[in-house]
Amino acid sequence: MTDVLSIDDLVARIPDGASIALPSDYSGCAMTAVRKLIQRGVRDLHVISMPQGGFQVDMLVGAGAVARIEAAAVTLGEYGIAPRFTAAIKSGEIEMWDSTCPALLASLQAGEKGLPFVPFRGIIGSDLLRVRPDWKVIDNPMAESGVKDPIVLLPATRPDVALFHALKADAHGNVWIGVQRELMTAAHAAKQALVTVERIEDADFLRDPVMAPGTISSLYVNAIAVAKEGAWPVGLDNAYAADHKALQDYTSAAATAEGFARWIANPAQVAAHA
C-alpha cells in the first residue's frame, strides 16, 4: 500500500547509485524533492530522462550527484544550454548515454511489459549506435525469406526509482497525472515510484469514471509526499506557470560552479519553496 511521507522521508528511499527516471521539464518535475536530494548529498545517480533532461538534471549534475545520464537531450529549452551539464560533459566527469526520444520511451515501455528487448525502426546510420553498445542491429527475423531488413533492438529499462510531481493524489494513494502518460509508464516500469503532489484529496479517483483514465493506481505508487508548489520553478500543468525570473536567475547563476553553488545553497526563493 502507498505510504504518505514527509518529503525528507520520501527522498530517503532513493539510495546513492540508484537509476532514477525523471520527467521532462513540462510534465511534472519533483523540484522540491530534487533539492532535498541534493541537500542530502546523494551521489552516483543514473538519471533516465523521459525523454529530455532539463533544470532538475542540470541541478543534480551541478551538485555532483550524477554518474550517468541517459537522455535524448539535456537542455533548458528557451533558457538555452544546460550550463552544469555542458560543463560536466566538457570535463568528462559524467557518463553520457545519448538516445533518441522514442527509443528511450520504447525501452521504458518494454520494461513496463516485462520484455527483455524491443525492436525499433530508424537509428541505423546514426552515430548513436556507436555510442550505445547496449543497442544491437539484427536482420528482422520475421522478414520474408531472402529479404535483408536490418532493425535495431533496444534493451528494456526498469529504473530503480521513478520520481515525479503531480497535481493531486487521493486518500487511497492513487495519483492523477492527466495526459502525461509517460509518468504512468515510468511508475509501471520502475521498481519504486515516489511521487510528490500539491495536495491529497478525500476522493477515490479510480472509482470516478472521468478521473480514472488519467490516474496511476496506488498499486504502483510506493510513497507520496505533499509538496506545495513542488514543481517550482519549472511549473506544473493545470496548476501554475513556470517562474520565468527564477529560471533566468538559475541559468545565469549556473554559468559558473560558484554561481550554481550559491543558487542551490540558500537563495531566499529556494527557501520559500522548501
Binding site: 537531450a73 557518463e95 533518441t100 520511451l105 525502426r121 546514426s126 556507436r130 502518460r181
Partner: protein, 250 residues
C-alpha cells in the same frame, strides 16, 4: 496593429519558404524549439482552407496528443504525419544532422561544444515523408562539409526501412531542395537581396547550382497581413518571446 508595409525580415522569409513546402498536406507536426516552423505551419493551415491539421508540441490549443510522450512518434509511425522540421548544430551536404556535439567522436562523451542532444531526430527523420531542415545560422560552421556526429543520417542504404527523409533546407539566405537518390542539395531559390555567391561563400558543403536561380517569392499583402496578425497571435501561445520579438505580438 503590425505594419504590413515594413520590409519582410529574414525570419519571415524563412517562414514563407517553409510554408511553400507544406501545400496539399493533411497533417504537420512541429517539435520543440521550432517557432519558425511553427509559424510556417500555422500560416499553411490558415491558407489551406481547413484541410490541413497542425499539431504543435507543447501547445495546449494545437495538440491532439493525450497518450504521453510516445504518441507523436507512434503517430508518425502510422503514417499520419506528413511533414516535420529538424535543425542541427551541424548539417552537411548529405543532409546528415548533428544535434550532439562538435569534436572527435572518439572522445565521446567529451566534446569541444556540446549540443542538447538528438531529440526524436534519429527516428522521425526516417519515418516522416517530408522533413524540412532549417537553421537560423547560415554559416560554414553550421553548414559544414561533414558533421562530427551523425544524430540522424540524410540518406540510408538500400534495404533500410525508410519511408521518410529530408526534402528541403531553409536558411535565412535561401532554400535548398534535397535529392534523396543523389544525396545532394540543390539551391532552389535565394531570398530577396541575397546573391548566389553569398550563399556559396557562407556554405561549407558542396551543392548544385542550376543555371538560373530564382528569388524566393515574397508574400502578397494579404499573406503578409495574415502572418503578422493571425499567425503572430497563434504562435504566441507557445512562443511568446519569439512573437513579441518578431512582430510585437503576445
Amino acid at each position: 496593429m503590425p505594419d504590413v508595409n515594413a520590409p519582410v525580415s529574414a525570419h519571415e522569409m524563412m517562414i514563407l519558404a517553409i510554408a511553400s513546402q507544406l501545400k496539399g498536406l493533411r497533417h504537420i507536426a512541429v517539435g520543440a524549439r521550432s517557432p519558425i516552423p511553427g509559424s510556417a505551419a500555422h500560416l499553411a493551415r490558415l491558407l489551406s482552407g481547413g484541410t490541413l491539421r497542425v499539431s504543435i508540441l507543447g501547445s495546449r490549443k494545437h495538440s491532439p496528443f493525450v497518450n504521453g510522450a510516445p504518441e507523436l512518434f507512434d503517430c508518425a509511425s502510422q503514417g499520419r504525419i506528413d511533414a516535420f522540421f529538424l535543425s542541427g548544430g551541424q548539417i552537411d551536404g548529405n543532409a546528415n544532422i548533428n544535434l550532439v556535439g562538435v569534436g572527435d567522436i572518439a572522445a565521446y562523451p567529451r566534446a569541444e561544444a556540446r549540443f542538447p542532444g538528438s531529440f526524436g531526430s534519429a527516428y522521425l527523420y526516417f519515418v516522416v515523408p517530408r522533413v524540412i531542415l532549417f537553421t537560423l545560422e547560415h554559416t560554414r560552421r553550421v553548414l559544414c562539409p561533414k558533421v562530427d556526429f551523425i544524430s540522424a543520417p540524410g540518406t540510408s542504404a538500400p534495404g533500410v526501412y525508410r519511408p521518410g527523409g529530408p526534402k528541403a533546407l531553409v536558411t535565412p539566405k535561401c532554400l535548398f531542395a534535397f535529392d534523396r537518390d543523389r544525396g545532394r542539395f540543390t539551391l532552389q531559390s535565394t531570398h530577396p537581396g541575397v546573391t548566389v555567391d553569398e550563399v556559396r561563400d557562407a556554405t561549407g558543403f558542396e551543392f548544385d547550382i542550376p543555371p538560373s536561380v530564382p528569388e524566393t517569392p515574397t508574400p502578397d499583402a494579404a499573406t503578409l497581413s495574415l502572418l503578422r496578425t493571425d499567425v503572430a497571435k497563434l504562435i504566441a501561445e507557445t512562443y511568446p518571446a519569439f512573437s513579441r520579438r518578431t512582430w510585437g505580438v503576445g
